[in-house]
Amino acid sequence: MDISFFRRGIKLSRRARPGKIEQIPPPGRAVLSLQQGSGPPAEPSIEIGETVIVGQTLAQCASGSGADLHASISGEVTAFEDLHFPNGTTVKALVIEGDGKDTWAEPERDDKPLIASPGELLERIRRGGVIRQGSETKSLAEVIGEAMSPRGYLSSTGSTVAKPVRHIAVRFADQDPHLDALAAMTETIGDKTADLDLGVKVLASITGAEQIHFVLDNKQETPGLDKLADDNDYAVLRLDATNYPDLSSPMVARAVSGKEPDTAFKRVHENGILVLDVDTVLETALAARDRRPVVSKLISVNGPEGAGVFEARLGTPLADIVSAAGQKKEIGKVVLGGPMKGIAHHTLEFPLTKEISGITLFGRDQIDMAVNDPCVGCGLCSMVCPIRLTPGMLSRYCEFSSWDLAQEAHLFSCIECGCCAYVCPAGRSMVQFMVQGKSELLSTRRSES
């Protein structure tokens, strides 16, 4: 049964683990968006016509708050292109025509990165282009900065007190059990445990975190990780990933600290808990030690005909990845991310960016359209809402523009996990109402202040 008596959230079926990561060869042409994750786009530091090699910096973040962008294939920068994101924004992208040689830049290896100062390490992460994955994709350096001293944010209570980061939780499975990039990485982590350890230590050194937690799916068998945790006194926490959204940041934060963080404005990390995905930690290690930037990405593909976990260079067209997964039939819907929280896109002619952790494909016959009938008041949404809201009422407040009531009913605490819409018998697009309500409220607030 997908709804439990005693537990909020929903139960999703687990996919069979593919267990193996397939490599996708570097594409002939890579399109690299200047914006990776939320935040301002980076400023290009090269000219059209220049020849680049893998790992060479293409664009730098202007304000020092974002993450740099690096070439993912070697070749010639031929053009700036407009890239249409699924959220409606248009961002400039660099196009590299590959030379087929895949020449890599020589890494500047630093064997003892932990000696470096926290500021230096943070700068290496930023220059390495590390993006925090998960619900809010954003430059890791920026996330850490925010967690350590929240600035510029208007909190719901108006307080802007700095809180030290006390816990770092490393997630070894995707939030959405239909995605399995992280799980596949965890299964094949064997030789990378040293990297993982280093990444964790680098992060702890930057933030001064006291406790590291490994958050694993309870079905994962991870002798290497267990040993690592034992040796270093890291806490291991096993959760059932099929209990969606138990692996989302606020739920993980509660599981590791025993305290519930305020989810309003996605400020989970302000409560002194940093929840990161394992790939982010590995990238951190590489950026800190080898100064090797992020140029490729693990991606989980899930479609009616083919599924698998692939490692592909940034900028690879999604269509290539999808056909590598064996998908041939006509597709009705493309979702960037998992089925619960991913964003539908109107085309597969879109390059792989750092924020895409999976692709979910639906055949024409598999599409669930929202019917948006009136709420029948069954209350199932209140039963599953992990944030203990009353989504049925909230969606009606938003539908009929009762913004004050919506805010009183803690609209901003909603994490948009989609559990309410998943169970809604009237087929209401609950998440849409919430997102719309939030943006409406924020824009009024902005125009008022």
Binding site: F5, H178, D262, G332, F362, M369, V376, H410, A421, P425
Partner: protein
């Protein structure tokens, strides 16, 4: 694979396949055993009454949607459920026209003015039932002796058969005549679908297991009735029958599992539902002790339904908020 038309919509992109129609069909299925028992006990008359009730409800809804030039809402099955619940809550001896008027009123007054589904402040079937019950108080009490009733207490001047509750109200010493097991198994006089606490309990548990209904309201209701009756019985055994007697007679079980768990007319938050049930159950016993001649449970639930917006304000503290802040 290029140039296809792809669908764009907001997350989540999967659903659990739950539809209003399926949930209503589940509810009807959960009512089926109790209804079948009623047909067995009261014969073809009962079956005919149920058929008439369902037909009248569906016809009224179809007519209204057509007149209002709206999309027909018959498909979700709610009209069927309304007619069924209404017919199951009347005794088998009522005239056909009474059930027809009740079903028409349920849809016309109780349901359609508030939108096809989801807006009704009071359970539509109860609106219909109470309209006919107040309009024809004598006819609504046309109880029929069931096939297997072991106790037949006849009170002079009463209708054809006397419900255990009426008999005990008139003479508290009659309570000893009714064996709790008989009452529980459904060997008693009463409304067509509400005489078998056992089958209603099973149906209700089925609903709860299928997550169509939640457990808070039924538990609260049964607890409320049990507590109120228990206290009343302890204080004055001749004025108030025992808790088990109250729970197993009349439409107590029916109310707990099928009326307290309605969607729009009951609260949605856990404590709201529990308190709704608890107070409703206590109120039902009070109404019975006060001698309301018919429909103590329906009335109690209707009264509580009017307070649903208040109960809906008892929301749990959201994740990460301090309790006092809410």
């Amino acid at each position: 694979m290029t140039n296809q038309r792809l669908v764009v919509s907001i997350s989540p992109h999967i659903k659990n396949g739950r539809t209003v129609r399926r949930m209503i069909v589940t509810t009807i299925a959960a009512l089926a055993p109790a209804a079948l028992w009623g047909f067995y006990q009261f014969g073809l008359d009962a079956l005919a009454l149920v058929a008439v009730g369902i037909t009248a409800a569906c016809a009224t809804e179809a007519l209204i949607t057509r007149l209002a030039k709206k999309r027909s809402s018959l498909g979700d099955g709610h009209a069927v459920l309304t007619g069924l619940v209404l017919a199951l809550l009347v005794p088998a001896g009522v005239p056909f026209w009474l059930v027809i008027v009740g079903a028409v009123m349920a849809i016309l007054v109780g349901k359609m003015p508030f939108g096809p589904l989801g807006g009704a402040p009071i359970y539509p079937a109860l609106v219909g039932l109470l309209i006919v019950a107040t309009s024809w108080p004598t006819e609504i009490r046309s109880y029929v002796q069931p096939t297997t009733a072991p106790v037949e207490l006849k009170v002079e001047g009463a209708a054809d058969a006397e419900t255990p509750r009426d008999a005990v109200f008139i003479d508290p010493s009659d309570e000893a005549e009714y064996k709790t097991a008989d009452l529980f198994l459904g060997k008693q006089v009463g409304p067509i679908g509400a005489i078998s606490p056992l089958l209603l309990l099973l149906g209700g548990l089925f609903l709860i297991l299928r997550r169509v209904a939640r457990w808070q309201a039924p538990l609260g209701f049964l607890l409320g009735m049990g507590l109120a009756a228990g206290i009343g019985h302890a204080l004055d055994p001749s004025g108030c029958a025992s808790a088990s007697f109250h729970l197993f007679t009349g439409s107590a079980m029916f109310g707990a599992f099928f009326l307290c768990t309605d969607w729009s007319s009951t609260p949605v938050t856990p404590w709201g539902m529990f308190l709704f049930g608890l107070i409703g159950g206590g109120l039902a016993v009070l109404l019975r002790i006060a001698g309301l001649p018919y429909g103590a449970v329906p009335w109690a639930i209707v009264i509580m339904s009017l307070a649903t917006p208040i109960f809906d304000r008892i929301t749990p503290t959201p994740f990460g908020k301090v309790a006092s802040h809410a």
